[in-house]
């Protein structure tokens, strides 16, 4: 070896930062720096235009008393608790089916991935066409069969269910693709060995597949959690947050303050709180899964 060991050690120390630099630089300049501005806004009464006075922690204190914020926060949390496991199971299930040797595999994959590329305004239109209380296909069919139509969107609980269904439909394909890549990377020899040992397919799934998917599972849970907390454009297009505020999730609440009510400072403060909530949740999951390393 030509290089001295010391030089090599220093190189090993610097190298990861060098690999990170391009990404870090772009992200830092275009997102982190503006986000820091956002932190500054959160201590002001900025209206998005001209007014900006420093008001200390007043925004944060007001948020504590903003029960609409906490209501929407709670609603979002429940939504996330429902939707994240369903997305996980749905994506893993379809990925398992679509990594088998079957005809038209690519077409099937494409069909399930397709909804992820439909813009949210169109997603809203589609699901209104299906679930619309009076104009929807489902209720039309239900009425044809002689039953009473179901208030899909005008009942708070049902409206939330509808949102969950639409979210699953539009997100599962995305995570399925990630699972497919991960499943395909599991060496076939593992399964062959297990098969020789007489393990059933269920045993193979729990003993081999799931443990080896640990990094991917962590990825998908964290990403879908962030997704769920950010859920907004789809809901706005589908229910508009209604009936009343029954499907108003936290990001919509933030938007309402930022733009309709022109309280940019207050909206920034709410975003910062959300940032920390997600940071802590992510950190906890990292701890629990040890970064998703396969032990």
């Amino acid at each position: 070896m030509g290089k001295s060991y010391r030089l090599y050690k220093i190189e090993r120390k610097i190298i990861p930062y060098l690999f990170l630099t391009p990404n870090l630089l772009i992200f830092g300049i275009f997102v982190i720096i503006p986000a820091l501005y956002g932190v500054i806004y959160s201590f002001t009464n900025f209206d998005g235009l001209s007014k900006m006075d420093f008001i200390g922690l007043k925004n944060y204190i007001n948020i504590l008393h903003d029960h609409l914020f906490w209501q929407s926060f709670l609603r979002t949390t429940i939504y996330a608790i429902v939707v994240v496991p369903l997305i996980y199971i749905g994506a893993l299930g379809t990925a398992l089916l679509l990594t088998q040797k079957i005809a038209f595999r690519g077409i099937f994959r494409a069909i399930i991935y397709w909804p992820t590329m439909v813009s949210f305004i169109v997603v809203g239109l589609i699901w209104k066409w299906i679930f619309g209380d009076s104009f929807g296909v489902l209720n039309y069919l239900i009425e044809l069969m002689g039953y009473k139509p179901i208030p899909w969107l005008s009942n708070g609980f049902n409206a939330n269910m509808t949102v969950v269904i639409a979210s699953l439909w539009s997100r599962i394909g995305f995570y399925m693709v990630i699972f497919i890549a991960a499943l395909e990377s599991i060496p076939a020899t593992y399964y062959e060995a297990a098969e020789i040992d007489g393990a059933s397919s269920v045993q193979r799934f729990f003993k081999i597949t799931l443990p080896l998917l640990k990094p991917t599972s962590l990825l998908i849970i964290i990403l879908s959690l962030i997704d769920a907390f950010k859920a907004f454009p789809l809901i706005l297009a589908l229910t508009g947050g209604g009936p009343g505020r029954d499907t108003t999730y936290v990001v919509q609440h933030i938007y309402e303050f930022a733009f309709t009510k022109t309280k940019m400072g207050y909206a920034s403060a709410m975003s910062i709180i959300l940032f920390f909530v997600i940071a802590i949740l992510t950190w906890l999951q990292f701890k629990a899964a040890r970064g998703g390393e396969i032990s």
Binding site: M117, A267, I272, F275
Partner: protein
């Protein structure tokens, strides 16, 4: 035994057809709706199929803007941005997966949590940064800034965690430089996940709305999504045109998916790796 296997196969197909039916019907409705006359679109009772197939929505939509230019802009932006994303995200993901260094987890968690701050809230400072760097009204302003996706970095990192360290150590002992290690060993191994990222990045950039909204003010530099969203007015949405253009704009994303998903198969490189 053979009988059971065939039965299983049949069940798998049946399940797949049901599932893909559920996923397909809504998109199918949109595709078929783009072929309906505007009156047919609002008809009651609802129907999946158009009464008569017409391309009038596409014609009117194309007349309402310079869609050739928008498609060209979007293509340029999407391809260049995706190339950048693939390179820098793979590098960053590799660094975070295969090196132990101070702050690595913090960087990743910081990256990911920042996704939670709605870009709309920080639109003004983003605009200021863009202007300061001379990227305002330049396509580069929507190519470079969104390229550093946290999701992509995380995606690559988690995949590369599965690559055994021994493999890298062996190459190092052979005297390979870290850079060569990355290009000659990591990139080939990561080909499936890079394909996934290519699929995603293409879709993100193709459908991006917010970055173009912030950066672009020159109609000659509009992207397809920016143009489509202009069908939304205060009181009215021009649904026929919006649906028609949305359907057209999905085609390239679908094609890219079909091409790249072929990479998602058991690779020769990966099998037998994790001994």
């Amino acid at each position: 035994m053979k009988y059971r296997k065939n039965l299983k196969k049949l069940l798998v197909y049946l399940l797949l057809i049901i599932i893909s039916g559920l996923f397909l019907i809504p998109v199918l409705w949109i595709v078929l709706s783009s072929l309906k006359t505007p009156t047919d679109l609002y008809k009651w009772p609802p129907s999946l199929f158009p009464k008569e197939i017409t391309f009038v929505n596409f014609e009117t939509a194309f007349k309402k803007g310079n869609f050739g230019v928008y498609f060209y802009n979007t293509t340029v932006v999407t391809i260049l941005s995706t190339i950048i994303t693939l390179i820098i995200n793979t590098m960053a993901g590799y660094a975070l997966a295969k090196y132990k260094f101070y702050g690595s987890n913090l960087i990743l968690i910081g990256f990911l949590s920042t996704l939670m701050i709605p870009l709309e809230i920080i639109m003004i400072p983003i605009f200021i940064v863009i202007r300061t760097l001379g990227l305002y009204n330049s396509l580069w302003g929507i190519i470079i800034p969104p390229a550093a996706t946290p999701t992509g970095v995380f995606l690559i990192r988690q995949y590369l965690l599965g690559v055994p360290d021994e493999l890298l150590e062996a190459a190092r002992i052979d005297g390979a430089s870290e850079w060569r290690l990355f290009w000659n060993i990591i990139v080939p191994i990561a080909k499936p996940v890079i394909s996934v990222l290519a699929i995603f990045s293409f879709m993100w950039r193709w459908n991006d709305f917010l970055w173009p909204l912030i950066v672009i003010s020159d109609p000659q530099k509009y992207t397809i999504q920016l143009a489509i969203s202009n069908f939304i007015g205060e009181f009215n949405v021009d649904w026929p045109s919006l649906i028609a253009m949305s359907v057209i704009s999905m085609i390239p994303v679908l094609i890219v998916f079909l091409i790249f998903q072929k990479q998602l198969v058991k690779g020769i490189v990966t099998s037998g790796l994790k001994e």
